[in-house]
Amino acid sequence: MATYLEFIQQNEERDGVRFSWNVWPSSRLEATRMVVPLACLLTPVKERLDLPPVQYEPVLCSRPTCKAVLNPLCQVDYRTKLWACNFCFQRNQFPPAYAGISEVNQPAELMPQFSTIEYIVQRGPQTPLIFLYVVDTCLEEEDLQALKESLQMSLSLLPASALVGLITFGRMVQVHELSCEGISKSYVFRGTKDLTAKQIQDMLGLSRPAVSMQQGRPLQTPEQPPISSRFLQPVHKIDMNLTDLLGELQRDPWPVTQGKRPLRSTGVALSIAVGLLEGTFPNTGARIMLFTGGPPTQGPGMVVGDELKTPIRSWHDIEKDNARFMKKATKHYETLANRTAANGHCIDIYACALDQTGLLEMKCCANLTGGHMVMGDSFNTSLFKQTFQRVFNKGYNGEFRMAFGANLDVKTSRELKIAGAIGPCVSLNAKGPCVSENELGIGGTSQWKICSLDPSTTLAIYFEVVNQHNAPIPQGSRGAVQFVTQYQHSSTEKRIRVTTIARNWADAQTQLQHIEAAFDQEAAAVLMARLGVYRAESEEGPDVLRWLDRQLIRLCQKFGQYNKDDPNSFRLSESFSLYPQFMFHLRRSPFLQVFNNSPDESSYYRHHFARQDLTQSLIMIQPILYAYSFHGPPEPVLLDSSSILPDRILLMDTFFQIVIYLGETIAQWQKAGYQDMPEYENFKHLLQAPLDDGQEILQTRFPMPRYIHTEHGGSQARFLLSKVNPSQTHNNLYAWGQESGAPILTDDVSLQVFMDHLKKLAVSSAS
């Protein structure tokens, strides 16, 4: 039999799902005693090269409250052409088209290998994708130029039929009309006045009469391209126009006096963008792409005043309740984000500035709508340029790696209920029998909307076992979960992906070892981390850490093997062995620690953590460290200060940064120029190897990580030193001066100390 590891991996590849527990405790009581909740990481539109979509509609369970999709787990009576829903046990007739089915002639959705299947359905008119650029013009000339070039370049990457629009903002907000010949025309809005969607639509001339015309038009001339407004035009029609328009974009012409920030009306600009799409293209795939080079300084959504002498809020200010604009601004952007989500659009934020740009306040725009959030120092960096280019990357079949307007519906068998989800989604408030009253993350619903997603977008979905202890589940039976994701493919097709999974139930009292063995510690670490990060958004940092610690201790108590009050006797089985270490690094991670991070950075990190898949999330929690040396092939090494050796080159991937660190000796060699001497070609290769590997990571990751090349003693080495486990510090003198590793000057506890404490607490009979 395959190991659980293989099983887990196989499942992930096939279904894009990883559960914290792969054998499920059969009662509510036991489930709660497992500490780590029953949950999964779901990647709804994971790329499946081997999964050709089928071109018909799924067959649904006829019970109105169920509507589960026919799946391989259903019992089928081929004779009577009936099938039983495995969730509600309703017996359903097959539709007439299925008249010919038999044991040997099964439709795909009944075959076991199609536990995940994708349907292409023809519903409603197809609308081209929409890209609405919202561009800040309060930039330095150089930055603006770079941004303009990136934008012009992006036009060539868009599908020809896609609609594009342009809004620029500075002190004023300009909505550019793209259809006009001759004079370029734009509608201007004051950057300080919040307008309702209706006002915006009235002012742009998009109100009622236009709408009724739009409705009437398809009937009269169905062959005509879908409705478009003056502000959103097909790329192929206006790319020349728009290229010129972008080329002529000037910096915001309003003078900025010394000691002032430029007046930037980001809040109103976004509001207008949202209002524009709301009025013209509700419920179709659309990206609002906000490019901003600084904080909003006026109007609704302002984050900081225009006086340079008042700095933008820091965590310290926020703790002291000194961030005057934060609450109001956050509220403004939340309202916008919710409206956007309700319309199925998404907002990307590309913020490039040395100082903060207000991501903290604006984060919900990207978080709730599945938009991207990119943070850089300048638009004139490869980090931004390549990241932006990567937004339009194409997948294996030449299609954009983006999907829109997904509607995720989760169905569970009776023993399970849905507690909530954490990810770039909003609740659709679909109450139902399988919705738990206990919420974890965004709960109270069995459906979520993910306005924009890409193949790696991953949601954490938490469940609750509701089976009562005294109503045992029959031996060998399985619990099932079905994920139905309806979305708009980048080709504008409507698709439905259905994933149905099942796991065995086990009695925790008698079969704990089964459950234990089926524990997926990686998934569990990420799922717990998501919960922690989710809490950290609303709670005080220390509270979250305490909660995490308590959970860890409880887990160790439950699954560790030890003698009471004897820390040295403590052992964890293999399937749990890495978990404490993940928690150690999670505690130190920027997702939970705000020290040394600006509020914007924290928001940025958390944003990405809440949407990446398991592998990336793990990298974020515990960065990967590779060592390159003459002693052997490149190898992963412990993320520990002891790994920092003079004759090694280290490559660290923290997801957000790629750090290449030359050990002391290597750095000296490089300075001496050995790599240029033919006789030391192997040294040249050694130097090159991490660069190549780093490049490979850079090529594939979104957003592009910050690339740092440093050496022993270099100032940038801090990126490495802050991540490794400080096993040697100035405090533990015994290591001081020893050959192995480098001491880290920190008061943080090391993993060893952490583990010692953990053991002590786990075995303590007091707790």
């Binding site: 004023m172 001759g182 004079i183 025309k185 201007v188 809005f189 006045k193 001339g205 002529e248 309003w254």
Partner: protein, 1032 residues
């Protein structure tokens, strides 16, 4: 409020009952009487047909029925019976196509209009009264000569005495047949007074005083005072017989030994005699209190210490010494200041004085500027301020020794010591925020709603601007204008244009948030025309096409001004908005207006609301505009009510000019509009101006009237001031004046030039003071008086019922004249109407003012037209008001082709017209070419190049350019008339007895107005009656 001034009369601003000394019951009775007939004119009741009432019997009390047009009526009725050409003129009821509605009222029932309760009911009595009347200067019984319009032929009057005096023949000589409804009608107006007076005095003996009457050759300077006034009439004679106007043959002047039937004072004669006496001469302003030539007289003015009358004209050049005297005379003490008045090329332009960084030298106490009124003492080390008498040190850089006369040696080298008018360069202290101003900007804001696009107006404007922008005003020494230009179009929303020179083509920025309008761009909006020429030309080419298929018909207005103002504010410039607007702004936005033109309000206490703006949006806007130096010029193209009172308000307060082209037609009206636009654009003007009027001790400026805004009581703020704008300032005593020092006035105007320099323009004038009332009367200037009366009355109608305003005007006129008669005239003239020489034409002008459509509420007169006129007059200078109220009527059938001169005008009365003649009439706003029905074919050929009268098209608004002396001469005259007039006059060709003639006849201001204004004679009678009442 001043007791002397009309404006100041309490009723306007305070609620004091009565007017000064006029509160006596007696006089109030008088007003009542006067007022009643007045209101009877205006009672809008077309086509009443109550006729048939015998005159005598009528005399009803109570609300007077519709005014009838006695004069016309007269003609009408008499027509058939009279010989000569009269029948031709009024051939019976007007054809249906006529301006008709106003015609019917001329039915013969004016009688009920007589408010008088006097029992003048029997014909016998009437006859009796009529018999007793005497009217001066009857022609000697000549029969109407065919060449003259015989409008009033009805009762043939007996030959008057051959004297020139205006003594009526004894009663019996007047045969007023009671059955002649005509005369009856006319007479009736005057009946009441007679009745009141009870007895009718016999014929008044010829009065020696009359001898010099109109015909007297003008003496040098002023006439000896008492001798020459206009007509004197016995009170009893005033009861205005219909016969008065006399036959055509009686027109000739006294010098021709023919008796002038209209020997009542003639404005034409006054103007001509002044012209003859002073025209073409050099007038040096070297004497304090000297009365300048009339505005109608051309002469060269030399500044020798007092401001030229082009800049300042006073109502009187000799102030009464005390306020008691002033109250007694009730002559308003006022100055009409036109600080930027155009100066002909043969007069010296203003000198510029630059004192460098120290700035202008000013009195430490009253802050008056250095001027010829400062007395240097102590060897030139100190000077005494002529205004407040403070002794100031002379700054060392300014020191100069005095000569033996006590005058500085450099007296003639320094304009500020020797001239009445000059300019100072202002220092930064005089600038906004102590920063040198930017050159001003002109913003063109074009209404591109459906109608303007369809009418072709937008294209017309855009095309014109392309060439016009080359002519922006500039300093003489500069090559190009420093003025920036910007462009906005609008309908329901605003479109701003970025015309930055670096752009390949203009960018349009639409601002739809009209509830809170703002300027979307700064850089690229206001540009240098030269630099951005290609972009601007591109823009102007595109604008008409851009909106070619618009169907937006709603417009906004207040946000447009707001936008322009904000743009100037953001650019830190003063400037002028040119707004081309055509409809009532009904779109949802601030300043939205509704049609409130309610004819029912006419002649009620609420009539004044028609002249007030709707809401307070526009006033607030005006205030902001003035505060930011934003002048608003408005070109209106309405074809229905647009609420001029509201939309024009900002224009009025910001020193802008309002132009109105009703039912604009591209073909006919473009020349007028374009000419206005050109002239306005090229106008020399000052921006962001503040005016301060300082006076010597004993009196001060109390009231300012004009296109101005005042935040406090002393500073006159004008967002801009141009050559045509005049501010009328009223003065009041606050102490006794001094005969020696006189009354000194200094007007200082701080402004920004077209090139962005800050300057102070100073005008100084010194007036005399006298304890003799006669001196005051002798130096009065009627034209300035009328300007003052017009403005103050037009201001007063905002707060008072029109009737009250009219009553006050009449009243004050009577008072002024009564005071003269009482104090200055010889006692022998008790029962006669005696007019001071300088006020000879006051009654006729006053009557014209009273008849102006602003003061007469009639349903036929569009409210907008009245508001428009009101606004225009408020900003007018003396010359403009003179022409506006008493139009120029030129006979052109008898032109002297050899001379360059404009022919002598004739009096504005129908009887001056002749069927064989052609007349040109101009009032500063419009021009009429009236052609008699039998005008000679040669003349027609010469002017129109058509063979006959019937071929002449009245649609044309200009005359063809023909190569014949006659046409050229006429063209020349038209040019002359037009020159220096603020508005381009549209030429309307009127054929006798064709429809537009009604319009034309409104301007024959000596006649009864079809809208109910009294004829000159009627009014004189009335005034005389008032005076008699006052003196009795």
């Amino acid at each position: 409020m001043s007791q002397q001034g009309y404006v100041a009369a309490p009723p306007y601003s305070q609620s004091q009952p009565g007017i000064g000394g006029f509160g006596s019951p007696n006089s109030s009775l008088h007003y009542g009487h006067y007022g009643d007939p007045n209101s009877s004119y205006s009672a809008p009741q077309p086509s009443v047909s109550k006729s048939a009432v015998p005159f005598g019997s009528s005399a009803p009390v109570g609300p007077p029925p519709p005014g009838a047009h006695q004069l016309s009526q007269t003609n009408f009725q008499n027509g058939p019976g009279t010989p000569g050409q009269q029948p031709h003129r009024f051939q019976g009821p007007p054809p249906p196509g006529n301006t008709g509605a106003s015609y019917p009222p001329y039915s013969p029932q004016s009688q009920p209009a007589f408010p008088n309760a006097a029992p003048a009911s029997s014909t016998a009595q009437l006859a009796d009264q009529l018999n007793s009347m005497q009217i001066n200067n009857y022609g000697p019984g000549t029969t109407p000569s065919p060449g003259h319009p015989a409008s009033f032929q009805s009762p043939r009057l007996p030959p008057p005495p051959t004297q020139q005096q205006m003594v009526l023949p004894p009663g019996p000589q007047v045969p007023p047949p009671p059955t002649s409804s005509v005369n009856g009608l006319c007479a009736q107006q005057s009946l009441p007074p007679m009745a009141r007076q009870g007895g009718i005095p016999g014929p008044v003996p010829p009065n020696p005083n009359l001898q010099q009457l109109p015909g007297q050759p003008p003496g040098p300077g002023y006439h000896p005072q008492q001798a020459n006034y206009g007509p004197q009439m016995a009170g009893s004679q005033l009861s205005y017989p219909g016969a008065f106007p006399g036959g055509p043959g009686q027109l000739s002047g006294p010098q021709q030994k023919k008796l002038d039937p209209n020997s009542i004072p003639s404005p034409i004669q006054v103007i001509e005699s002044d012209k003859a006496a002073r025209g073409g001469q050099v007038y040096a302003t070297n004497t304090r209190g000297q009365v300048p030539p009339l505005v109608t007289t051309d002469c060269v003015i030399q500044d020798q210490g007092h401001a030229s009358p082009r800049y300042i004209r006073c109502t009187t050049y000799c102030f009464p010494l005390t306020s008691d005297m002033a109250k007694q005379t009730r002559i308003p003490l006022a100055a009409v200041i036109q600080p930027f008045a155009n100066v002909p090329p043969n007069e010296t332009p203003l000198y510029l004085v630059n004192h460098g960084e120290t700035g202008p030298i000013r009195c430490n106490r009253c802050k008056a500027y250095m001027c010829p009124f400062m007395q240097f003492i102590e060897g030139g080390r100190r000077y005494q301020c002529g205004f407040c008498n403070c002794i100031n040190d002379v700054p060392s850089f300014f020191f100069q020794h005095l000569d033996h006369m006590g005058r500085r040696i450099d007296h003639y080298e320094r304009p500020e010591l020797s001239l009445g008018s000059y300019e100072y360069v202002a220092t930064l202290d005089y600038c906004r925020d102590k920063k040198p101003p930017n050159p001003p900007a002109y913003i063109f804001m074009i209404d591109v709603s459906y109608r303007n696009i369809k009418s072709g107006l937008v294209k017309l404007i855009c095309d014109e601007l392309k060439t016009l922008l080359d002519k922006l005003p500039r300093e003489e020494q500069e090559e190009s204008s420093a003025i920036r230009v910007g462009f906005v179009t609008y309908n329901k929303v605003l479109h701003f244009f970025n015309v930055k020179s670096s752009l390949a083509q203009p960018q349009m920025m639409v601002v739809t948030d009209v509830s809170e309008v703002f300027v979307p761009l700064l850089d690229g909006f206001l540009v240098d025309f030269e630099e951005s020429r290609s972009v601007i030309t591109n823009l102007l080419d595109q604008i008409p096409e851009l909106f070619a298929d618009t169907n937006e018909s709603e417009t906004i207005f207040a946000p447009v001004i707001q936008a322009g103002m904000e743009a100037l504010k953001a650019a830190e410039r003063a400037g002028k908005l040119f707004i081309f607007h055509s409809s009532l702004p009904t779109a949802e936005a601030p300043g939205k207006l509704k049609n409130r033109d309610d004819k029912k309000l006419l002649n009620t206490d609420k009539e004044k609301t028609l002249f007030q703006p709707q809401g307070n949006c526009y006033e607030a806007l005006a205030r902001d505009c003035v505060a930011n130096g934003c002048c608003v010029n408005l070109f209106l193209f309405p074809n229905q009510y647009v609420d001029v009172a509201s939309v024009g308000l900002v224009t009025m307060y910001t020193g802008g000019t309002l132009y109105k082209y009703n039912n604009f037609q591209l073909d006919g009206d473009s020349p007028q509009f374009l000419s206005d636009l050109r002239r306005d654009m090229e106008k020399k003007m000052g921006f962001d101006a503040t005016m301060r009027v300082r006076t010597s001790t004993g009196f001060r400026a109390t009231e300012f009237l004009g296109a101005i805004y005042m935040n406090n009581t002393t500073d006159v703020e004008m967002a801009a001031v141009d050559c045509d704008k005049a501010v009328t300032v009223e003065f009041k005593h606050d102490d006794k004046l001094n005969e020696d020092t006189g009354a000194l006035i200094q007007c200082a105007l701080l402004y920004t030039t077209v090139s962005g320099q800050r300057r102070i323009r100073i005008h100084n004038i010194g007036l005399n003071c006298s304890a003799q009332l006669a001196d005051v009367y002798r130096t009065c200037e009627t034209d300035a008086l009328i300007n003052f009366f017009a403005k103050s009355a037009f201001k007063a109608i905002l707060s008072q019922p029109l009737k009250t305003v009219r009553d006050i005007l009449v009243n004050q006129t009577a008072h002024m004249l009564a005071c003269y008669k009482k104090n200055c005239a010889s006692p022998a003239t008790v029962s006669q109407l005696i007019l001071p020489d300088t006020m000879k034409v006051l009654p006729v002008y006053m009557n014209c003012l009273l008849k102006s459509c602003v003061l007469v509420g009639r349903a036929e007169i569009p409210t907008d037209e009245r508001a428009f006129h009101r606004q225009l007059v408020m900003a007018m200078g003396v010359a403009d008001t003179q022409l506006f109220f008493y139009p120029r009527l030129l006979p052109i059938h008898s032109l002297d082709l050899k001379s360059d001169a404009v022919p002598a005008a004739v009096r504005c009365s129908e009887e001056r017209l002749s069927e064989g003649g052609a007349f040109l009439l101009a009032n500063g706003l419009s021009m009429f070419l009236w052609l008699g029905a039998s005008v000679s074919p040669e003349l027609i050929q010469g002017l129109f190049n058509v063979p006959s009268f019937a071929h002449i098209s009245t649609d044309a608004t200009s005359l063809p350019d023909l190569d014949n002396p006659f046409s050229k001469k006429l063209k020349h005259i038209l040019e002359q008339l037009q020159s220096q007039k603020p508005y381009t006059m549209k030429l309307i060709i009127v054929k006798q007895r064709e429809q537009p003639e009604m319009l034309f006849r409104q301007f024959l201001v000596e006649d009864k107005s079809i809208y109910g204004g009294a004829s000159y004679v009627d009014f004189l009678v009335c005034i005389h009656k008032e005076i008699s009442q006052l003196l009795s």
